[in-house]
C-alpha cells in the first residue's frame, strides 16, 4: 500500500528550504503605505547605512495605527509621522496642543521624537479647477451650499478625528454622499469626474500635476502636520551616534523639496530608493553606493516569500484539518461545531482577518501565515468529512466484520477511500491561499502582493501585473501539481474504469 502521507511530507518539507536567512539587523525602519512616507523611510535607512550601521526598511506597512503599534511593540525602531497626526489622532484623547508637552508624553511612553524634518504636510480639501471656476467654491465653509457634491476621501481620513469625523461637525457640512477609497485612486476619481472633492496632502505632487485647487481652511480646522521621525528611545543607547544621524536630516527637507521628491516617484516613476539616494547626494552631499537589485533577484525574493507564506500556512492547515475532519465524522455534535466555526472564519473578509492578527502577532510574516492558515482550514475539513461520510455503510460494516480495529480501519480503508476528496479540499485551499497571500504585503509579509500594492499606489499597471501574473501562474501551477499528485496518491483501484466483464 502506498504511504500517501509521505508525499505530503516531502512536498511541504521542501518549502522549508525556501525560507531566507536574514543578516542581523540593528535598525528597522517602517513606513506607511504612501509614497512620501516610503521616501522618508528610504532616506533615513540609507543615511544610517552610510554610517556603517545595519538598517532595513519595512516598506508600506499600512496606516498610522499599524505603524504606531509596531513601534510600541518593538517590531520597528522608527518611522516617519506628522505632529498633527500624533496629537490629533494617535494621542487624541490627551488633547495635546503644544509640542513640548507632546515630547514629554511620548518620552514617558518610551518614544522619542526628532526635530521637524522641515516641511508641513497638512491635510487639505481639493477640487478640480473646472469645478472651482464653475461653482465659485473658495473656502471650506462655502461647501455648505453644495450639498450635491460627492466627496471621495482616503479611508484613513474618513475615520480620523482630524479628518472627516471632526471636520463635518466643525464646519457643519451637510454632505451625505461620502465615499472611502484609496488615496491614490482618489486623484483618478477626481480626474474622471466621479467625485467632486477629495482630501489631499499638501505635499502631494499630484496637486500641481492635475492643476487642482486647494480650498482655504477659513476656520483653521487642520492643525500643522510637521514631518518628524518617531523612534524608540532605547535606540539612543543601542546605537551610539543615532541622534547625530537624525540631526543630519532635521530641517533639511522643505515643502517644495518634498513635493519634488514625491513627483519623481509618482509622476516620473522612479523608485523610492533611487530618489532617496539622489536626494542624499544633491542636498546633503552624501554618496550612497546604490546596489539596485536586478529584476530577477527581486522576482526570486518575492517568489520565496510567497511560497513561504502559502507553504507554511497550508502545511499547518493540512496537519490540523484532516484530524478535525475525521473527528467531525466521529462525533456529530462536535462535527457541526467544527464545521460551523471553520465556516464562520471563511466569511471574515481576508483583509479584516489579516488586520485582526496584528494585535496578536504583530506585523510581518507571522500574522499573514496565521490568517492564511485559518483560511485554509474549511475546504480541507469539509472535504475530509464529506469524503469519509460518503463511504458506503456496507464497506465499513465489512471492515468491522473482518475484525479490524477502528484506527486501522481509518488508516487502511477510510482515508484511502476518501483520499480523492481530501486532496481536492487541499487543492482548493492551496489556490485560495495563494490568491489571498497577495494581501500579506499590506502588513509587511512581502510576496507577490508587494508589486501589486506599489502598482496601485503609483498607478502603474505594469507593476501590478508583475505581482498578479506570477500569483495567478503559481495558482495554476499548484493546480497542475495537485492533479499529478492525485495519480500518485489516490489508490489505483479508485482510478481505473470498469472493464467489460462477463
Amino acid at each position: 500500500m502506498k504511504n500517501w502521507m509521505n508525499y505530503f511530507f516531502i512536498i511541504f518539507l521542501s518549502y522549508g528550504f525556501c525560507q531566507q536567512t536574514e543578516d542581523p539587523v540593528k535598525i528597522v525602519v517602517g513606513s506607511k503605505k504612501f509614497t512620501e512616507s516610503i521616501i522618508l523611510g528610504e532616506i533615513i535607512t540609507q543615511l544610517v547605512q552610510t554610517k556603517g550601521l545595519l538598517a532595513s526598511h519595512k516598506k508600506q506597512l499600512g496606516g498610522t495605527r499599524i505603524l504606531w503599534n509596531a513601534l510600541l511593540a518593538g517590531e520597528i525602531d522608527m518611522y516617519p509621522d506628522y505632529t498633527g497626526t500624533v496629537m490629533r489622532e494617535i494621542l487624541s484623547e490627551l488633547e495635546i496642543t503644544d509640542e513640548d508637552r507632546l515630547r514629554q508624553i511620548l518620552f514617558e511612553m518610551g518614544v522619542g521624537i526628532s526635530q521637524a524634518i522641515g516641511f508641513n504636510n497638512t491635510y487639505a480639501l481639493g477640487i478640480k479647477e473646472e469645478t472651482w471656476n464653475k461653482s465659485g467654491v473658495n473656502q471650506i465653509s462655502d461647501l455648505k451650499k453644495y450639498t450635491e457634491f460627492i466627496f471621495g476621501f482616503s479611508n484613513e481620513f474618513m475615520n480620523r478625528e482630524d479628518g472627516w469625523l471632526g471636520l463635518k461637525g466643525y464646519y457643519q457640512l451637510p454632505q451625505k454622499n461620502v465615499r472611502g477609497l484609496d488615496h491614490d485612486l482618489a486623484y483618478r476619481g477626481l480626474e474622471s469626474g466621479d467625485i467632486h472633492l477629495i482630501d489631499m496632502y499638501s505635499t502631494d505632487a499630484e496637486i500641481e500635476y492635475y492643476n487642482l485647487k486647494r480650498l482655504y481652511d477659513d476656520k483653521k480646522f487642520f492643525p500643522p502636520y510637521r514631518a518628524i521621525f518617531l523612534y524608540r528611545l532605547d535606540l539612543v543607547s543601542r546605537v551610539p551616534g543615532f541622534l547625530s544621524i537624525l540631526e543630519m536630516i532635521e530641517g533639511r527637507i522643505s515643502e517644495s523639496i518634498m513635493i519634488k521628491l514625491n513627483g519623481r516617484v509618482k509622476l516620473e516613476k522612479k523608485s523610492e530608493k533611487s530618489v532617496a539616494t539622489q536626494f542624499l547626494k544633491s542636498n546633503l552631499g552624501i554618496r550612497v553606493k546604490l546596489d539596485e537589485e536586478t529584476k530577477i533577484d527581486v522576482f526570486i525574493q518575492r517568489t520565496k516569500e510567497h511560497l513561504f507564506l502559502s507553504g507554511i500556512s497550508l502545511f499547518g492547515a493540512i496537519l490540523i484539518s484532516i484530524p478535525l475532519g475525521i473527528l467531525a465524522t466521529r462525533r456529530k455534535k462536535i462535527g457541526q461545531f467544527i464545521l460551523g466555526i471553520a465556516g464562520i472564519i471563511q466569511t471574515i473578509p481576508s483583509l479584516a482577518l489579516l488586520v485582526f492578527m496584528i494585535p496578536l502577532l504583530g506585523i510581518g510574516e507571522m500574522p499573514a501565515i496565521a490568517a492564511l492558515f485559518l483560511y485554509s482550514l474549511l475546504p480541507i475539513i469539509r472535504n475530509t468529512h464529506t469524503g469519509i461520510m460518503n463511504i458506503p455503510g456496507e464497506m465499513l460494516e465489512s471492515a468491522d466484520a473482518l475484525g479490524l480495529p477502528r484506527l486501522v480501519r481509518l488508516r487502511l480503508i477510510e482515508l484511502p477511500m476518501a483520499s480523492r476528496s481530501i486532496l481536492a479540499g487541499i487543492k482548493t485551499s492551496a489556490v485560495i491561499n495563494i490568491g489571498t497571500a497577495t494581501l500579506g504585503a499590506l502588513i509587511g509579509a512581502g510576496g507577490y502582493g508587494q508589486p501589486i500594492l506599489t502598482g496601485i499606489r503609483l498607478d502603474d499597471t505594469g507593476l501590478i501585473l508583475q505581482g498578479a501574473v506570477p500569483a495567478a501562474t503559481l495558482a495554476l501551477l499548484v493546480q497542475v501539481i495537485f492533479e499529478g499528485m492525485e495519480k500518485l496518491i489516490v489508490p489505483r483501484g479508485l482510478q481505473i474504469k470498469p472493464e467489460n466483464v462477463e
Binding site: 473482518l402 475484525g403 481505473i496 472493464e499
Partner: protein, 250 residues
Amino acid sequence: MFQLQNVSKHFNGIDALKSISFLTPKNSTTVLIGPSGCGKSTVLRLMIGLVVQDTGKVIFNKEEIPKLKVLSFRRKIGYVIQDGGLFPHLSVKQNISLMAEYLKQSPDEIQARISFLCELTQFPLKRLDAYPVQLSGGQKQRVSLMRALMLDPAVLLLDEPLGALDPMVRSKMQRELKRIFQDLDKTVIMVTHDIGEAAFFGDSIILMNEGAVIQHGTMTELLETPNEQFVEDFINAQRNSLGSVGGNSP
C-alpha cells in the same frame, strides 16, 4: 454452535426481533429464510456482533459474545454480504490478505492460503492483481468468499450471497458453493429469501416473519407439517422455483 435465547431488538421503536430462540448445529448448513424485513439479516449481524441485542443472549460455543474481545471473536467468523463488500481501493489479493497482513502472518503462509482458496473457489490466479471494479458479479462473490475464509474461520455467515447475480451465474454459483461447503465441512449460516435456495443448501431451515421464528426444521418438515398457515403461504408463493432447483416437492 450458535444459540439465541429470547433475543429482542428494537430499532427506532420498531420490534425488529421479538424474543427469538434457536440453536444451529455444528458442521451443517442452517438457512434463515423469510420475507423482506422479517429480521433475518439482523440475526446474522447479531451473531458477528455488529448489532447488540436489547434483551436475551447470543451464545457461541457455550459462551456469550464477548464485548471487549469482539474484534478477535469476529476473526473466527467469516462474513459475506450481498454485493461482496469488497474494498474498491484494494486489489483482489489485498482484499483477501488484509486481515492476515494486519495479523502479521508470514508472506509464505499467506501465499499458500491464497493459492488454496483460489483453487477451492476456482478463481484464476492471474486475476489476483485486478481491482473489484474490474470483476464480474460472480467473481466478486468468489473473492468475498475467499476473504471470509482467509483466516480459516469456524463459522461462515452469508447474507444473500448470491442475491445480486443474474439467474445463469446464480445457478452455477449455487452448485459451486454447495460443493465448497461440503469440501470444507464448516458450520454455515445463510440468509436468503428464495425457498429454492433454502431447500438446496439447508440441512435445517429457520422460517421467520415479522421478527419472530415461525418454524425451525428440515425442508420436508416445513412442507409436510407446517406450523402455521403462513408457512404454507410462503412456500406456495415460490413453489415454481422450488421445483426447478430439484427440491423434493410432491
